[in-house]
């Protein structure tokens, strides 16, 4: 029975040695997602669709897309990026800021096609000379788009009191969310609007924080698209609908889910744009002529049902979401 004692060791060793990866000549794409979310995952769909359109499809075995999701766990995220780096994947697709930052820190050679991420300055990854990392490609977003989204609100809404009061929640643990909040604060000061911003650290507190905002008699709710808002949007929507407060945002996916109107990037198109770049790289096998670019597709969209509920007349240049 002595042998039985060491069985687990043998078992684990066997496991480790049995998983050897085989190299083939099909290009390998490592796709890194930081967490699960219904809206965010559209970026991945867009990315793979763009590859498919250029003739790199998983079904025809012309490309191998290895998808890994860290489920919101940073040690796992680091491991995933390490795995892709050591497998020497041809390129990495990184979705959301944290994945992009992790990948940029771990490799200076493998091209990284980012999506749903802010500009290199926003991510703080520029060198002292102001250069963005040489292996960063894909589609990124700056804060300027928020201006347009935010300025929609005074155009469409009449204040209940003397001044328009807009409430928002922002996530302290995301750089772009805190940046966006500061930007909106300055916009609100210019537009003679009162802004009440409350911090939120996890989607678990969403309901409480939303309720507390709604208790402050706000005219509208601005859903700043960050991870916590994506995760807890349904809760926010329910509370706002009960209190008859319309939601405005800057991301088309949230309008589909029930916000009134938005001007901003479409997450699916965002991923698609990064995917087009990745496909170009796979065709040429070099990164010449590629660089990171701003998100191209920004839409003015509105949700007909929500607009009707709040009697809001949306300008003609807005299209209804399907």
């Amino acid at each position: 029975m002595k042998i039985l004692k060491y069985l687990p060791l043998v078992f684990i060793l066997g496991l480790v040695l049995s998983c050897n990866s085989k190299k083939s000549d099909v290009p390998v794409v490592g796709f890194v997602d930081a967490f699960e979310d219904a809206t965010i995952s559209q970026a991945r769909t867009g990315f793979t669709d763009a590859l498919k359109k250029s003739g790199f499809s998983e079904d025809q075995h012309t490309v191998k897309i290895e998808y890994r999701n860290a489920q919101g766990d940073i040690p796992t995220l680091t491991q995933i990026v390490n795995q892709f780096v050591s497998e020497k994947v041809d390129l990495m697709g990184t979705c959301t800021t944290l994945s992009t930052v992790s990948a940029l820190q771990k490799t200076k050679t493998i091209p990284i096609f980012a999506m749903v991420s802010p500009t290199p300055e926003r991510m703080n990854v520029v060198s002292s000379t102001g250069e963005a990392p040489a292996n960063l490609f894909g589609a990124v977003e700056e804060l300027a788009y928020i201006d347009t989204s935010f300025n929609i609100i005074p155009k469409l809404l009449k204040p209940k009191g003397s001044k328009l009061v807009i409430g928002m929640i922002y996530n302290q643990s995301e750089p772009q969310s805190a940046d966006a909040m500061n930007r909106i604060k300055s916009l609100a000061d210019k537009a003679n609007v009162t802004l009440i911003a409350l911090p939120l650290n996890s989607s678990a507190d969403a309901q409480l924080v939303t309720k507390s905002l709604l208790g402050k008699n706000i005219d509208a709710f601005f859903a700043n698209p960050d991870n916590t808002v994506f995760a807890s949007f349904e809760t926010i929507l329910k509370s706002c609908n009960q209190a008859n407060v319309p939601i405005f945002t800057s991301e088309a996916g949230l309008v589909k889910r029930g916000a009134v109107a938005a001007f901003g990037a479409d997450i699916y198109q965002w991923g698609y744009q990064a995917g087009e770049q990745a496909a170009q790289f796979l065709k040429m096998h070099k990164t010449d002529g590629l660089k990171w670019e701003m998100v191209k597709v920004r839409k003015r969209v509105y949700n007909p049902e929500a607009a009707k509920k709040y009697n809001i007349t949306v300008p003609l240049n807005f299209e209804a979401v399907k």
């Binding site: 687990p8 992790s102 990854v125 520029v126 302290q172």
Partner: protein, 289 residues
């Protein structure tokens, strides 16, 4: 094999946490949740100071002191205010979130072109090999210090406090002070892990500490099962096993990833793996007994 090397490196970076949890959990029987906060604290201070171009030998003592302070605070709340250890840890961890955010000024600081502990040793052309030797040296020094400490009269009193507090108090030892010191030591180690990981992964993030206590506990429990299985009584061996527990825990994650498990099942498979490691020796124990 490179992939397993990075898992090994990550395990070595996290072995300081494992030692910290070993001290709080195994020696004092205190489930210390402060860990989640003090780990991020270590990372936050490291990132902030390195971005301000401070040399590593300045950052290191600051990180250790800050971690120790956080632990001492938990100890004080627990012993002087007679508040349950678990709650004391949760309170300090919650408060540390704001402290960390204030220290960092933003929620994520990437390190670009800053000094790093991994730039001192340049034996091999491969960056990872240098990191490996740096970590081995670093962890060896910590382990020797902790091992030596546990062997001194003070350390023995500390270990006895965990075993039977009333008896040790009867011998005239101030057990409250023992607990405060022990928790300070444990959290200083935890902050060290934050210090190492931040430089290893190249960024500090406000959420990096969430659930990290599980990693430490998992490492200690894996070590525990080996300690029982092989019937080890020596302090040195126990510490070594705790270190390898941390490495095994990361390797398990690496194996799970490299098998290509559906991402949705990642955590479940990792948990089952650890369960296997921990339970198989026990199963075979029973059958051979």
């Amino acid at each position: 094999m490179d992939f397993y090397l990075t898992a090994l490196l990550q395990g070595l970076c996290l072995s300081a946490i494992a030692l910290g949890i070993y001290i709080s959990m195994k020696i004092f029987n205190i489930p210390d949740i402060t860990t989640d906060g003090s780990y991020t604290l270590g990372g936050a201070i490291t990132a902030k100071l390195l971005v301000l171009h401070q040399p590593v030998f300045v950052v290191l003592p600051v990180v250790v002191a800050a971690g120790a302070l956080a632990g001492a605070l938990t100890g004080l709340i627990h012993t002087k205010l007679k508040i349950n250890a678990l709650l004391a840890g949760i309170l300090v961890m919650t408060a540390l979130y704001s402290v960390n955010l204030t220290l960092m000024g933003r929620s994520n600081i990437p390190l670009i072109g800053t000094a790093s502990i991994f730039s001192f040793i340049n034996i091999s052309a491969d960056f990872n090999h240098n990191v490996f030797w740096t970590l081995v040296a670093f962890v060896a020094v910590i382990t020797v210090l902790i091992g030596y400490l546990l062997k001194t009269d003070f350390g023995i009193a500390m270990r006895a406090t965990g075993n039977s507090e009333s008896m040790v108090r009867a011998l005239g030892v101030n057990t409250d002070r023992m607990k405060i010191t022990g928790l300070a030591l444990a959290n200083a180690l935890t902050a060290l892990s934050g210090f190492l990981i931040t430089q290893f992964q190249g960024f500090a993030d406000i959420n990096m500490g969430i659930g990290i206590v599980i990693v430490g506990l998992g490492s200690v429990i894996i070590a525990e099962s080996f300690i029982n299985w092989l019937g080890i009584t020596s302090v040195w061996f126990s510490l070594l096993l705790v270190l390898s527990g941390a490495v095994i825990f990361q390797c398990v994650l690496a194996i799970t990833l490299s098998i290509g498990v559906d991402p949705i099942l990642l955590k479940l498979v990792t948990a089952v793996f650890v369960l296997l490691i921990v339970s198989l020796p026990r199963l075979s124990f029973k059958s051979s007994a």
